[in-house]
């Protein structure tokens, strides 16, 4: 069955400030949606609203996943349904061992229990793919990670948790060439089973990924949707498009 996230006329504010004004977007498995736009246009707000960050208040509209009302669910319940939202600036979890964090997340999302040695095998495979050393297992989550390591660690979790819909918030910034390749091959491999909403500032990622739809956001609204020609337009003239 085809599944996906349906966002209908979503309005969001934080305190008194209106950040999203009636945004509609539909991301189905097997599709790749690109979301571009200047800083402060509301891209991350959209990601946070899908995630369920309660600091963002939804004032109107809906977010559904296969017909289920996501707005009624807590963030971890959304994750268990198959939503994954990557963080632009993943926070450090002092003292929390990376491997046990990943294992807890894996077990929680899949409602299963797995032995540490079995789990290590699964993680080992993905570590190689994203280009992180096995020694990362012994470290604490994001603690002392370089910018690139943090992004790769987000990518690792994407691979591990196999969501139905993934929202990748600027996961491509700060990635080296190899990591960039790992990212695009991950997206392409997961695509049949996953829908992607990729928030990005650059066209680098689009060299290897074919978007279903490119959306441009400005002042809390999606002002244009289209194909690759939109990206070229932006590359030339910035966001001065209407």
């Amino acid at each position: 069955m085809e599944s996906g996230v349906d966002i209908e006329k979503l309005s969001v504010r934080i305190k008194e400030k209106v950040l999203l004004r009636g945004v509609s977007l539909h991301v189905k498995t097997g599709e790749t949606h690109i979301l571009m736009g200047p800083n402060g246009s509301g891209k991350t707000t959209l990601a946070r609203a899908i995630l369920g960050d309660k600091r963002y208040t939804v004032t109107d509209g809906k977010i559904e996943f296969n017909g289920a009302d996501l707005l009624k669910l807590k963030p971890h319940e959304r994750a268990r349904l198959g939503i994954f939202v990557s963080f632009q600036e993943p926070v450090a979890l002092q003292g929390v061992n990376t491997l046990s964090f990943l294992k807890t997340a894996y077990e929680s999302v899949n409602s299963t229990k797995i032995t540490t040695s079995e789990f290590k095998k699964i993680v080992g495979k993905y570590l190689e793919k994203v280009g992180l050393p096995e020694s990362i297992n012994e470290r604490h989550v994001n603690e002392g990670f370089s910018g690139g390591e943090k992004k790769k660690f987000e990518l690792l979790q994407l691979l591990l948790l196999k969501p139905k819909v993934a929202i990748l918030d600027e996961i491509d910034t700060g990635l080296d060439l190899d990591a960039m390749k790992a990212l695009s091959s991950t997206v392409n491999e997961m695509l049949p089973e996953t829908g992607f909403l990729i928030i990005t500032h650059s066209d680098r990622i689009l060299k290897h990924i074919k978007p279903t739809l490119v959306n441009v956001m400005k002042d809390g609204s999606i002002i244009r949707s289209g194909g690759m020609e939109l990206v070229e337009e932006i590359e030339k003239g910035g966001y001065k498009i209407d």
Partner: protein, 463 residues
């Protein structure tokens, strides 16, 4: 809104006891004379008490600990006798008192994993027993009142020598009013494999508990001592002012573990100090989970070359609690070495303070010290402070110091939730990860107990 709590209240229950003796509230020289008379002590101990009371009266309240000004020493009862006999079998302990220790799981633990147990209820020790094989090796483990009568030579030689009755106001108060506590002597070369445990319980309201512990590990001896503490919650305050003295002779090893879980109306003002002689090794593992206010800085005085100290301080401060805890390492000989680690967590407006002192005076050559203080804060209402005093005047000293403050704010919780981990599970993971190295150093039985104690409970209120 979520409310995060430390699960400490499972020890909050009360037994209605008909006390044989219960002093009215208030403190005077007469109280001390009465106490000494009830105990039928030798004169030298009575003199020691009265002398200490003079020191206490002369000293002002320490003004460097926030919140002490609210403690009214005239609202405290200084002695309560729940049972006039001390038993060596749980069957002989009066039922209501035994019920308390059953609920705390002490007799169970004794069978499984302990070399000896002492149970103190309000002012006196009600149960004390040591395994036969330990007695045969000459190990003494009894309450300190009995030691005054049965081992006067050892007590006279060491009592009050590590912590002088004039050391500080609350050490003076304890020296004047002490009752109960443990006396341990481990003979030369004897290694005690199973830990010895004491459990201190405050059951009465407005109670003052003043246990006094003296541990002597003779040359090459090895012993682990564990103390647990809990109390019934009342709306009125109680006071726990203990003094613990340790003597680790040449080559001895003493490990002293505290899991302090007083109710949140107890002022916990404790002086703990060890003398470590040549190549001796003293470890303090000090976890403070309960109490309204704790002021406690376990110390090791390294008096001869090769002495070592390892002090691990853990503090949890929830709403209305202030844990002012830390450590002191005093290097008074060459080639001495100390490690101090502090881990503190504050939430819901709780407050933690690390206060520590390391001294390496000139002449204590080739000594080293390492101090690490990590604090974890859950919210903006909570507070943590660090006062790591260092007095290093020996040039060859190797000194390292690190401090960190981590925050488990909304972002950390959300990050874990976004990966499918429920909020309370995530917080548990963070807390247990943070104090993991402490748990590794506990004997198995206590590690399990500790994990249970700090399992964080989350309530969802309608908001």
């Amino acid at each position: 809104m979520e409310k995060l709590e430390i699960q400490a209240d499972r020890y909050d229950f009360k037994e209605d006891i008909d006390y044989k003796v219960r002093f009215p509230n208030g403190l005077s020289e007469r109280v001390i004379k009465n106490l000494s008379d009830i105990k039928g002590e030798p004169n030298w101990m009575k003199e020691f008490r009265l002398n200490a009371y003079k020191f206490f009266s002369r000293r002002p309240m320490p003004n460097w600990i926030d919140g002490l000004d609210k403690l009214n020493l005239n609202d405290i009862s200084y002695f309560a006798l729940a049972s006039d006999k001390k038993s060596t079998s749980w069957e002989d302990v009066p039922k209501k008192i035994k019920d308390t220790y059953d609920k705390l799981g002490i007799p169970e633990a004794e069978k499984r994993a302990l070399g000896g147990v002492e149970a103190m209820f309000d002012s006196t020790v009600v149960y004390n027993n040591v395994r036969e094989e330990l007695k045969k090796e000459g190990i003494i483990f009894c309450d300190t009142d009995s030691a005054v009568k049965d081992y006067p030579e050892l007590v006279k030689k060491y009592f009050g020598k590590v912590v002088s009755p004039n050391d500080n106001k609350f050490a003076a108060l304890n020296s004047a009013l002490w009752s109960g506590g443990s006396f341990i002597y481990v003979p030369k070369g004897v290694k005690v494999k199973l830990p010895l445990q004491a459990y201190f319980r405050i059951n009465a309201a407005n109670m003052g508990q003043f246990e006094r512990t003296l541990i002597i590990a003779d040359e090459g001896a090895d012993v682990t001592y564990v103390e647990g503490c809990s109390a019934t919650t009342y709306s009125k305050e109680s006071l726990h002012a203990a003094v613990v003295e340790i003597i680790a002779m040449k080559g001895a090893h003493v490990k002293y573990i505290t899991i302090q879980n007083w109710s949140s109306d107890v002022y916990n003002l404790v002086t703990k100090r060890a003398f470590a002689y040549e190549n001796a090794y003293v470890e303090w593992i000090d976890a403070n989970i309960g109490a309204k206010l704790t002021a406690k800085y376990p110390s090791v005085y390294m008096l001869e070359p090769g002495a070592k100290a390892n002090i691990l301080s853990i503090a949890f401060a929830d709403k209305g609690q202030h844990q002012d805890a830390g450590a002191k390492a005093i290097h008074l000989a060459p080639a001495t070495s100390s490690v101090i680690r502090s881990k503190s967590i504050c939430l819901n407006g709780g407050r933690t303070t690390y206060r520590g002192l390391v001294k390496i005076p000139r002449g204590s050559k080739d000594s080293n010290t390492s101090v690490t203080c990590d604090a974890l804060i859950f919210d903006d209402d909570s507070r943590t402070d660090t006062y790591p005093y260092m007095e290093i005047s020996e040039e060859s000293a190797d000194v390292s110091h690190e401090a960190s403050v981590g925050k488990i704010g909304e972002d950390q919780r959300l990050y874990m939730e976004s990966r499918g981990i429920p909020e309370n599970e995530g917080i548990n993971m963070v807390v247990l990860g943070f104090v993991g190295e402490f748990i590794k150093e506990l004997p198995m039985e206590f590690a399990l107990e500790f994990n249970r104690l700090i399992k964080i409970n989350m309530e969802n209120a309608v908001g």
